[in-house]
Structure formats: structure tokens, C-alpha cells
């Protein structure tokens, strides 16, 4: 904060001003008191209120996670149905092979691969370009497409494999034969009966994956230089900007807990057996 040419007195004055000389418990108490009153402290490295700093970056991370979740559902559900109902077909073997490889690619390497192939070779987008959400939502989302894909693809692979097994298991059951016997078409059986039941185990995986998407997004922001929560956290850790780190840690933990809660609620909504507590 003061640079390298600092006298001991100046350093001491700053420590006193920031309250760094107080005992740990007193500092923690003050911090908690601040949080309750809506005062999240002031960043050391930016000299700005932490609340303002974090708030300006939330939309970026939120957009990224939302888009990644959208891609996840849009890609993995059709693919899962496709191979789940055609076990041991060419498609199945092919997709199971591809997804096995893709689920082992860490999101940041996926991001680098996408940048290399689609950004630098095919020039579908400009690497490192970022459009602020203040300049228009469509442009903003367009800039987030590739980062979101990078986060989503490894998880798509995971969910597709899971959905395939869930559907295959449901298709073996008696009620499917009954449905066919009633004269329903394959499409109707799939949508009205099988999918409803197969979604229950899948939902629990999506819950875990949603938390993974949050984690992956924090990392991917670094790859695509997006000014979101993740980059703020990492630069704050590297620069020992503790007021920011503390608030972000609490914030991220809260987001993950909320995600879990929402999934739990969805779980109950989808499966009446859990709702009745049986």
C-alpha cells in the first residue's frame, strides 16, 4: 500500500488505522458487526468499498454460470436420450468414448483448446475480447458463449453418461412395456414416462455439477480474462487483500449452499415420494 520506501512509523500508522494491531477476536467481532450493518470493509489493493467491488463483478460470473448451465442442459439431455435408448449402437459406443475423454479435460485446458481452435485458427471470436454488460446484454452474452462452453463441455460429458445409464435402466422396467402395449409411440413413452423417472437421479448429479460449474467458472474467468468474481478472488489472494478475500469466501460459500438448497427443492418437486417423506 505504501510502496517499498516506507518508514517504520508510517507502517505503524497504517496498521493502527486499519485496526491490524487489535487481537484476532476483536477484529473478527468488528468484521462481523460490519457485515451485519452492511459494511463489508475496504479493499487494500483498490482502496474501494468491498461491496461495490464485488457487486460490479457479480453479473459477469452470474452470466457465465447461467449460460454454462443452459448449455449443459441443452446439450446433455438430447444426447443422453439419444444413446440411452440405443444401447450398444454405433452412436452409443462413439459418444461413450468421446465423453470418457472429455470428462477428463480440466475446464481451463478446454478453454485454451477452444481459444486455439476456434479463436486463433478458425477466427470465430477474438481471444481476450470482453464486452461489458453495461454496453448491452446481447453483446455481453455473445462474449460469454465460448467461456461458458469451456466450463460446460466436461460436465456435459459427465451428465450424458449418467443420463444414458438412468434411461437404460428405466427402459427395462415393466411400466414401459405397459405404455407401449397401450399403443403409445416411442417418443411419447420417452417424454411422458421414462424421462420423468430418469430425471430423478440425474437431478442429483446436476446439483453436484452446478456447484462444479461455479468452481469451473472461477477458473475459466482467468483463461478468458473476464472481470468476474473468480479473477477478483485470485488477484486478492495473490495480493493479500484480505477484506476482499473474506467477503468473497463467504459469498461463494453462500452461493454453493443456495444451489444445493434449490436442487433439494427441485428434487422434492419432481419426486412425490420424497415430498411425502416416504
Amino acid at each position: 500500500m505504501l510502496g517499498t520506501n516506507v518508514t517504520e512509523e508510517q507502517a505503524e500508522a497504517i496498521r493502527e488505522e486499519l485496526g491490524l494491531n487489535d487481537p484476532v477476536l476483536v477484529r473478527y467481532g468488528n468484521w462481523l458487526k460490519g457485515i451485519v450493518k452492511g459494511d463489508f470493509g475496504v479493499s487494500y489493493q483498490y482502496d474501494k468499498p468491498v461491496a461495490e467491488l464485488v457487486a460490479s463483478r457479480i453479473p459477469v460470473s452470474l452470466g457465465l454460470v447461467a449460460l454454462a448451465l443452459l448449455f449443459l442442459l441443452l446439450i446433455s439431455i438430447p444426447l443422453g436420450i439419444l444413446i440411452g435408448s440405443r444401447l450398444h449402437s454405433v452412436w452409443d459406443t462413439l459418444l461413450m468414448g468421446i465423453t470418457q475423454v472429455f470428462q477428463c479435460i480440466p475446464p481451463f485446458f478446454m478453454g485454451i483448446l477452444l481459444t486455439l481452435i476456434f479463436g486463433l485458427w478458425f477466427r470465430f471470436f477474438t481471444p481476450g475480447q470482453y464486452c461489458s454488460y453495461e454496453d448491452g446484454i446481447p453483446e455481453f452474452l455473445q462474449c460469454l458463449i465460448w467461456p461458458a462452453l469451456a466450463v460446460a463441455i466436461p460436465k456435459v460429458a459427465m451428465v450424458v453418461r449418467f443420463l444414458r445409464n438412468a434411461i437404460a435402466e428405466e427402459l427395462d422396467k415393466d411400466y414401459v412395456r405397459t405404455a407401449y402395449a397401450k399403443g403409445l409411440s416411442g417418443m411419447e413413452v420417452m417424454c411422458r414416462h421414462v424421462l420423468k423417472n430418469a430425471m430423478i437421479p440425474v437431478l442429483s448429479v446436476v446439483g453436484v455439477v452446478a456447484a462444479d460449474l461455479v468452481a469451473g467458472s472461477l477458473v475459466i474467468e482467468q483463461v478468458f480474462s473476464l472481470p468476474g468474481i473468480g479473477r477478483l478472488l485470485i488477484s486478492s489472494i495473490s495480493n493479500r487483500d484480505y477484506p476482499v478475500v473474506a467477503v468473497l469466501v463467504v459469498f461463494i460459500a453462500a452461493v454453493v449452499m443456495m444451489t444445493n438448497y434449490v436442487i433439494e427443492a427441485l428434487y422434492r418437486a419432481v419426486d412425490p415420494r420424497i415430498r411425502r417423506g416416504g
Binding site: Q100, F108, A211, A215, V219, I234, S236, M257
Partner: protein, 273 residues
């Protein structure tokens, strides 16, 4: 499930998994004594050269040999992944076995703590631990050990509870065997397959998590070669030297994929297919 009736189906997962992971492990072990070039030696005349001879995977922006660095980096990554999984699986298995076998309030407490840790993705928790304890390799290993314990504990607990319902455990109790002897003689040997499969998948997870942290600059610190770190450094030179990103990236993929396939293979083998 639609398998052909004749003969035994080849366990391709096991074969490919062992091959890929074995190759990576071999490269890592060899790097202890020999690498084609010094992984940290810079060479101004050979900056960003394409793959070929003598630099098999080319050189990076400092003229360091990518192949040698990949070897050294794989060694560090594998070392971390193995030590983390060894420690956490032993502790986790102990917690899970005790929790599952004895049940009661102990089980209740241990499993609630487990759930709390499991609710968070490992990269996220590692980030949190690192932000509290500071950056460094030892802290990273420590963080991962803590974070990996719960999944082992849960897996072993499930195995033990499943086994407890079986007759041979009841018979053992009937002939008067003590709890610890039953655990040691009957429960643990029967959980071996599941345990090994989880360790293999644990290595996949550890490799992915470690490389992410090193990529962010919060794991292995330079100049020690690390696959994640190499990817981060190569990003500025992607147009001129894509090989310096692809080399370490494919190495991470290789280790993770090899361990993943191996896990699947062990699991299938355990089911008696």
C-alpha cells in the same frame, strides 16, 4: 445387457487405462534420473521452436524443452496426486469403516461433517483453504487431503453397511469373533475392489484439481515445473507456439484419462464380468 454369450469380454478399460497411466508414470519416474534437456535451462537461441529433433515437443518462450518439462511436471503432478490419495484414502477408509460398522451417534456426527465438506467442489474448497493458509505446495497437499477424505469415508461406509447385512458377517459374530478382527479379516478384504476403483478416480480428480490450482498460480510455485503452470505461461504465445500449451495439456489429459479408465476397469472387473 446385450453382451455376447460366448467367451469373456476383454476389459478394454483396464487395458487402455493401465497402458496410458503406465506410460505417464514411466515418463515421470524416468524424469527422476534422466530428461532429454534440463527442464529449467533456458536457451535464447531456441525460443518457440516447433516440435522436431532434438526438441520432441518443441520449446517454449524461454527456449526450455517442452518434453523435458512435461516429464518433470508429470512427476510433480503424479507425486501430489498419489500422496494426497494415499493419505486421504487411508484416513477416509478408517473413518468410513468405523462409522459404518459401529453406527450410532458417532456415525451421525461423522457423516454430517462429511456432507458439509462434500457439498463443495474440491477446487472451490481448495481455493478457500489456500486463501486462508496462503499459497504453497504444502498447503495445497494439506488442503486436498482434507477435501478428499469425505468421499472415501462415504464410499467405505456404504460398503460396510452393505456387507453388514450379509450372512458371513453374522456368522463371524456368531462364532465369537471380535469387531476389529471381523473388520480386518472380512470387511476390509471384501472392500478392496471398490477401494482401488475409488483411489484411481481420486487420482483423476486430484490431477484435475491440482493442475487447476497451479494454473491459477496458487499451487506449485515456479521455477518448479508444473503442468498447470506451463499452460498458464504458454497462453501468451499461443499463436506462435501452440505446442507449449498442447504438450502439458495432453499430459494432464493422459494422466486423468488413464486413471479414469483404470477405475472403470477395476470396477467392472470387481463385478465379475
Amino acid at each position: 445387457m446385450g453382451r455376447k454369450a460366448y467367451g469373456k469380454k476383454r476389459n478394454w478399460n483396464l487395458i487402455f487405462g493401465s497402458l496410458i497411466l503406465g506410460t505417464m508414470a514411466l515418463l515421470a519416474v524416468v524424469s527422476l534420473w534422466y530428461t532429454p534437456f534440463d527442464p529449467n535451462a533456458m536457451n535464447g537461441l531456441w525460443k518457440n521452436t516447433a516440435p522436431g529433433l532434438p526438441h520432441l515437443l518443441g520449446t517454449d518462450h524461454f527456449g526450455r524443452d517442452v518434453f523435458s518439462r512435461v516429464m518433470a511436471g508429470s512427476k510433480n503432478t503424479l507425486l501430489i496426486a498419489c500422496s494426497v490419495n494415499l493419505a486421504s484414502s487411508v484416513i477416509g477408509a478408517a473413518v468410513g469403516v468405523i462409522s459404518g460398522y459401529f453406527g450410532g451417534w458417532l456415525d451421525e456426527i461423522l457423516m454430517r461433517v462429511n456432507d458439509a465438506v462434500l457439498a463443495f467442489p474440491s477446487v472451490l474448497l481448495a481455493l478457500l483453504v489456500i486463501s486462508i493458509f496462503g499459497v504453497g505446495m504444502h498447503n495445497l497437499v494439506f488442503a486436498f487431503v482434507i477435501l478428499f477424505i469425505p468421499s472415501y469415508a462415504r464410499m467405505m461406509r456404504g460398503e460396510v453397511i452393505r456387507m453388514k447385512a450379509m450372512e458371513y458377517i453374522g456368522s463371524a459374530q456368531a462364532i465369537g469373533m471380535g469387531s476389529w478382527r471381523i473388520l480386518w479379516k472380512h470387511v476390509l478384504p471384501n472392500a478392496r475392489g471398490t477401494y482401488l476403483a475409488s483411489v484411481a478416480i481420486g487420482i483423476t480428480n486430484a490431477v484435475l484439481a491440482e493442475s487447476s490450482m497451479s494454473y491459477l498460480g496458487l499451487g506449485i510455485q515456479p521455477p518448479t515445473a508444473s503442468l498447470g503452470r506451463m499452460l498458464a505461461e504458454s497462453q501468451g504465445y499461443m499463436m506462435r507456439a501452440p505446442w507449449s500449451a498442447l504438450g502439458p495439456g495432453l499430459a494432464i489429459l493422459g494422466i486423468a484419462l488413464g486413471a479414469g479408465l483404470l477405475s472403470e476397469g477395476i470396477r467392472v472387473k470387481g463385478q465379475g464380468f
